[in-house]
Amino acid sequence: MDKTVNQKAWFLVLPVFLVVAFSAVLPLMTVVNYSLQDTFGNNQFFWNGVGWFKELLDPTTDLGERFFASLWRNLLFSAIILAIEVPLGIVVALAMPREGWTVAVCLVILALPLLIPFNVVGTIWQIFGRPDIGLLGYTLNSLGIPYNYVSNEFDAWATVIVMDVWHWTSLVALLCYAGLKSIPDAYYQAAQIDGASRWAVFRAIQLPKMNRVLLIAVLLRFMDSFMIYTEPFVVTGGGPGNSTTFISIELVKIALGQFDLGKAAALSLVYNLIILIVCWVFYTVMTNAGAERPQKEGSV
């Protein structure tokens, strides 16, 4: 079929180009511009080349040290919450009822944490964990378990992780539930006929059929957790010390605290690039794991 040549179409997509240009491309280019210059205020800029990037990627400098420290912290955080939320989400989805009025109840309850604004989530846990008035903190301390997220690094991490699990496991569970619901009954019936155990049903039917939604769940949770800012900022403010200072918190400190626009811009770009690369790797690995090696369409 011949394509219709119609130059008028350009005028129709032009508004979109303009919106994207002003909302994404121009700000990004501004950041690129900042990352290559230095400023001492007064709107005066001096060319610095790739100096900020060199400094950023050199762990012996102050900037590099802070960047790598927060990067490892952030990667560790993402790894931990993925390791908890994905299996937990699957278990929750498997345990959910398939039909009846309880389905609606479960869905509403699961959706609740997702509907709460991020800084409200932070505030909830900040108060919940306080040793003096918080239900969690007070109870733990009364039980003889010393708990103080303001002074103890481990407690701070535990709080931030449990908070994220509380906030986001629902998303994984809902995605998995949707995947499970799409499996036709015939699969379960066939598995019954084939004498499959509960575990075999999970391995042979449910997990492969959830493959796609799990990919989406892992991507979403990785990106979100790698960009996390609001909740830990509200709860711990990045402390105690720098122990829960993730990249985005570090970035805000540099950009708005110290007003080092050049360093912050360089950090932003590298940060962005890391997220893109990791997502691409995830996506490639997981799609290849799902589909087998290329082979010809077989007709038997």
Partner: protein, 361 residues
């Protein structure tokens, strides 16, 4: 392998307290012989899949019992019953190869590895799947996937029966023929009891030794294809089997005579006592009614059209308010639309309230 007995088996999807007329399967008592090839034939929604799912245990019956070799297995789960079932649409375990798919039912039951390998190889050879054993099953065509499903049904040697639920729906017409004859051959070779659900009479009649016809949740007749053709026990069997179906027309029957539209037809048997108040009909297959030139001794009819089926021609005729299909003898030509009908008395059956009445010879 075992004999399967259904004792007063019935099922309603809305519970045992539902009105009897709403039951998806009305009470049935019957026996499936060990090693038989059965077809369960009926239109969509007649309860044939329900009956199949009851036997395999996917559905638990509202009442009645199922016996395998005299042992009551009604409360047992599907896993514990020794039964295999193939569904309408292919079910494939995506992450496994063709070979692993075929081995799955055996592996789950802890069959020794060597035996699994031998059995899988045998079934794969029978179904022409051998070259694909090490391939992932997901990328194969629907035909091949359904063959794998069939293979999983046949791979266990110890099953009481293999149940097929319209297994050839997704298969190409040409391959359908091949697979059906293959199933028939497999039945002889593996000596398994097979129950084959279908709404296609050709499929049922070619596959089975015994065809069980279902209508509206009831088993209306079970017999060989010849019995179903020669002596339908129910008017439904008459017009559901055969193409065109049986002619069923209201008539007055008295002794050895039936009156249709003021004309008398001789009957082969004597129907002295007919149930009072019942709706009386006679049924005769188009193959046993011939069109002839109009004559005084014949039932006169108006020919509406003639269908040429190649080997045979059938006339669609009208007698009073009723319609008939009748055979057109070779070389017969119609001067005008008027004709007479010649009946073969031996093949005229009498039905009271749709059920066959046995006459006295």
């Amino acid at each position: 392998m075992s004999r399967i007995d259904l004792v007063d088996l019935a099922h309603s999807y809305s519970g045992n307290d539902a009105p009897p007329e709403s039951f998806a399967l009305k009470p049935v008592t019957m026996t499936w012989r060990q090693g038989g090839a059965y077809a369960l034939l009926g239109p969509s929604g007649c309860g044939k899949t329900t009956l199949l799912n009851l036997i395999s245990g996917i559905v638990t019956p509202s009442r009645g019992k199922i016996l395998f070799d005299g042992k009551d297995i009604t409360p047992l789960s599907t896993q514990k019953r020794n039964i295999a079932q193939v569904f309408q649409f292919p079910v494939i375990y995506d992450t496994m190869t063709v070979g692993e798919n075929l081995a799955f039912p055996l592996k789950n039951r802890g069959v020794p590895k060597a035996e699994i390998a031998a059995r899988v190889r045998r079934i794969a050879n029978l179904l022409d799947l051998a070259p694909y054993l090490n391939r992932k099953a997901t990328r194969l065509t629907a035909d091949a996937k359904q063959k794998i499903s069939l293979g999983r049904g046949l791979v266990r040697s110890d099953v009481a029966a293999v149940l097929f639920d319209e297994p050839l729906t997704v298969i190409d017409p040409e391959l359908k023929w091949q697979l059906r004859s293959k199933l028939k051959a497999l039945h002889r070779e593996l000596d398994l009891t097979m129950i084959y659900v279908t709404h296609d009479q050709t499929e049922a009649l070619t596959f089975a030794d015994t065809v069980v016809v279902m209508h509206d949740g009831r088993v209306v007749q079970s017999g060989t294809p010849a019995e179903l053709f020669d002596k339908p026990a129910h008017t439904f069997v008459g017009y559901f089997i055969g193409s065109p179906g049986m002619n069923i027309v209201p008539a007055h029957v008295d002794g050895r005579e039936a009156r249709i539209d003021g004309h008398t037809i001789g009957l082969h048997r004597n129907y002295g006592v007919l149930p009072a108040g019942a709706k009386i009909e006679i049924g005769v297959r188009p193959e046993f009614v011939d069109v002839a030139p109009p004559a005084s001794g014949l039932l006169s009819a108006t020919i509406e059209r003639i269908d040429d089926l190649g080997r045979i021609r059938f006339a669609r005729v009208r007698v009073g308010d009723s319609k008939f299909a009748a055979r057109v003898p070779p070389g017969f030509s119609v001067p005008n639309n008027m004709a007479g009908l010649v009946f073969d008395p031996a093949h005229v059956h009498v039905y009271a309230d749709s059920r066959l009445v046995e006459g006295v010879a």
